[in-house]
Chain length 337, copies 4
């Protein structure tokens, strides 16, 4: 931590800051510049985090120098994490595609969707059984019945199943049916839930919160890893900005940034990011070109009849086209689909 | 809902949209303008919400005309809701002040804080026993022990107690000790938690999410009211914007806006909004002038030693000064402290 | 500036950074911590600004420690700047109110508006003769004719005139008719224009850019002061955020923040900030309570007929009510209207 | 425009709105739904834009149904615009790359940079002679001398020259030396400047404003086209969001969106968007995959010595690598470099 003193700070004020630091066992490096004094703080991280200096006289501000997370950082682990989900690996040379409807609506809808996405070449089936919705009056999901349909679709197609878990209570039932647990955007800072999936042994797909910084996103992953579960896949799904043409703003720079500062795999959800099916295809290609390890895409047998997110769902035909195009981009960046 | 057609949309495309609407029981009002056709949709709200038209040929976009929430709106209930918490009313003519440390750190710290805020004139004691923290390595709260100290402080001072509940599991124990349950910003869209406090009989303080629109915030409140609990107090606490000088950007227009469109009481948290203790005093005054029904303020016996949020905590002396100033502003807007 | 090295940075990499700094005449303070090395840089500010270290091996990032601006800072000048505009002072104990239509539309409209705002107690008449509009097809202003009406209204009422200058070319003509030049939000970083008004002797009202940080806003003011014109009044008018209910998000914390870090007067424009006339009254009161030195408010004889911004304009009746309420708030914070 | 009435609006209030509309020559379509009345407004666009209804009793809000711009829209012109700059076409099948230093610093620096980017395969040389800088104390550019160096570099290499024009006054001199005029982000809503380059015959590179919506960006282009200059190339360069890890947030969805709603070419500036040279390569590839027609990239012979933006500049070696990778992506989307 760096403490910036006021240009008019007195020696007494500077001494008080140093004294306070020393009292709690921290070391102070005082640099007296031409215009002002800067104090560098060295010592135990936790001690520093809990030290509040802004309230002392003569202090302008303090600046944190390093990040809070550790296990998820590339400084801690240099080589890429590759997550194995029943033989499908995420984070290596193969681009992974997860596809399916936003919500599991019925047995027929789901089996038809599963069959279609399997034929088009996806490796995972996605579909929500528990749906967090902005309005209490919107369709909230089929719950355990939906999970059963997902498991049935897996048995029929060989696809792996990824589905959202929305509270600690339902972790056992979702883990029973699914191959991978999804933490939704709205729950990215639901720390009880993060700790609980950290104690579970299923891989976790951690979506970035709507307004989470990259730092907060990595700290959320740190919650999971710090409880013992190393199998975390990050998912960029658009952030909230002033732009209203798209549902959110897809932040592909975050994909490239996370690849630099963390060893965890990162996939992209172009459907929720854009909210517009016409933009899913170009953004999927862009995601793979930016270095994403995979995609999670909404596909519905009949988007116009979907109970949620129909606007952003691909038809099976469009999804098949998309898979072909992604293959070309993957090849261009030295990967395979 | 309004459907905007492409200026080159054919009659066949327009007819298809109308046909689709009719099939699901909705009525279409077709307006053919000079440059393009607009279709107004009338019928059951749920039906409309689930109808996806963007995927049909010739359609540019659909525009929602009305809001999803109902019970929280002033159109539904014209007169102000006044919440009674053991004799203290929120939402009427009296400005209510909740104060105390960010986190309950020890029995001594809390009792000292309670005594000080009581003397300065606050009606509620605030303090977190369960602390959601960005980093898993930061202080996470004293949990039930902290709740016991809060209850003891209430017995000693007569202050009401408001404290955060972070999951469904801990609602019973928090309800046992507290007078009002707080839903934190990160949980504003934790719908399981919202529904659960909606089935509880304690008043709920619902903080606005970091990047929640006013519409989403009111929908979150609608979750609670729709489960049977009408005693919801909204709390504006700053939104996430590009500005980094302050921790968040306090959105006081939202207070005035919510007063227009909803009947629920609204209070303001200037401490988390600004993150800077020097700005708490002017923003508290501004909040009351904007029409807020009260404040929730962080006060710590020794901010420099606080285990969390010391930067933004007032000393007891500053809090006492603040209370005097708020009294003057309250009087200027026809209220009393 | 602080340079943060990678935790695995070698001595050779650290030495290279130090060598580079020394070469350009800067001094390096190396702090070797338990987990990583931090290098503090001391020396000429301009030299530091132009030094790029991120491209060197082993460097994680650099962090600026101090701000770029100087003349506008309270560290440079402790006492408040009070701007005198023909006998009306801004920045002292008196709350100043500038009011009038968004655009000058006709002689009749303007003279009527001027008469009304004068009677209600305003000290300044506002009104745009040159109108920057999002669409090229919207009303663009009466230009010099509008300026003449403004001058006529001043002669008739004694109000001071503030109006926008949109390019370097029109500074002479606007200066001829107006008492104060307004730089609009869209031009806050039009540096040619800032330098030109800095060489002029008329006071300048500098609106904050739509997405300008406080730091950028103060740097924009620094452009004006550095050219010799010390008479700058800042104007907070709402920033662009994700919230769409209001036109912008009024950032009153910025008013309080600027009062701490700068000596310049700050006023607030609640009309453009909210875009909703119903919110102008509560936000005006909040602004004064937050410490603003004044207000600039849109008032139109008949808002429903306004050629621009009718939605956010007050009727003369509402403005008169507002003036009464502001008087009470001003008194509550120890000022007078 | 759609007018939404309050659910309690009286017939008298509805009639008043209709009467007002009729008075100014607009037609009203009244739809009385179960819960509220909606009024559709048909007629002259300009008339509608200037009609303010929010101030009338019983009105909740009005909603604009169509966009303001016309000439730039794909509804107006279906086929893609292809801009020809001295034989280099932008907007067709060829990916165009513009590269060079942020600022022209010296003759040597520029000629070396031009030579290097030419060899790597770029078609345009970029470089700022007039530099808008946040601080008045930062390097402001070599002005006309810089333009001369650019022209000399063109003569030496055959590269086309694109450079920024920062005010109306300097359009003649910049046009004299450059092949394409760049309007920077901070000037995207400098309407005087837009109109002036609209009356000029040089192609214009229009950068998106820092916080400009897609709609405002297209309206800015409309200003140029409406004055007679059809040769506009849009440039996405990152928008301002809450994320601070990157300098801005590159909005590639905007590229895909603009391709849908406009016929104008769109290129991407990954250097200013990310502010981090390590992210320029992945974002360049992502941009081409998303459908961009080209790139504008900062390249400096020695980034660590750059007078501005060194952090985000590529070395010539990295740029050469980038060109190879872009070629592969271009091929994968059916284009060529």
């Amino acid at each position: 931590m760096i403490i910036v003193m006021n240009s008019r700070a007195t020696d007494k004020e500077i001494d008080l800051v140093v004294e306070r630091l020393t009292t709690v066992g921290l070391k102070a490096h005082v640099s007296r510049g031409a215009s002002r004094t800067i104090i560098g703080v060295i010592g135990d991280k936790k001690q520093i985090t809990n030290f509040n200096v802004e309230t002392l006289p003569g202090v302008v501000k303090s600046i944190a120098v390093t990040d809070d997370y550790k296990l998820v950082s590339r400084e801690f682990q240099e080589e890429d994490t590759i997550v194995d989900v029943g033989g499908i690996t995420i984070g290596g040379n193969q681009v992974v595609v997860m596809a399916g409807p936003c919500a599991v609506e019925s047995r027929e809808q789901l089996l038809m969707a599963a069959d279609m996405v399997k034929k088009a070449g996806a490796q995972f089936l996605r579909g929500g059984a528990y749906k967090p919705r902005t309005s209490p009056y919107a369709f909230q999901g089929l719950e355990e019945e939906g999970l059963k349909f997902l498991a049935e679709a897996r048995d029929a197609t060989g696809l792996k199943v990824v589905t959202e878990v929305i509270d600690v209570e339902s972790i056992p039932v979702v883990s029973h049916y699914a191959d991978m647990l999804q933490i939704g955007s709205r729950n990215m800072q639901n720390y009880q839930l993060l700790k609980a999936v950290g104690r579970n042994n299923k891989p976790v797909l951690l979506k970035r919160g709507l307004s989470a910084t990259i730092n907060e996103w990595l700290n959320a992953a740190e919650y999971i890893l710090s409880e013992g579960n190393p199998n975390v896949i990050l998912c960029e799904r658009g952030i909230r900005t002033f732009e209203t043409y798209t549902r959110n703003t897809l932040d592909l720079s975050a994909v490239a940034a996370v690849k630099n500062i963390s060893h965890l795999p990162v996939i992209v959800d172009p459907s929720h990011a854009t909210g517009i099916w016409r933009l899913v295809q170009p953004m999927s290609k862009a995601a793979i070109a930016a270095g994403a390890d995979g995609l999670i895409v909404e596909v519905h047998p009949d988007p116009a009849q979907a109970l949620s997110d129909g606007k952003q769902s691909l038809t099976p035909e469009n999804f098949t086209t998309l898979m072909g195009e992604i293959g070309s981009i993957a090849a261009a960046v030295g990967k395979r689909l």
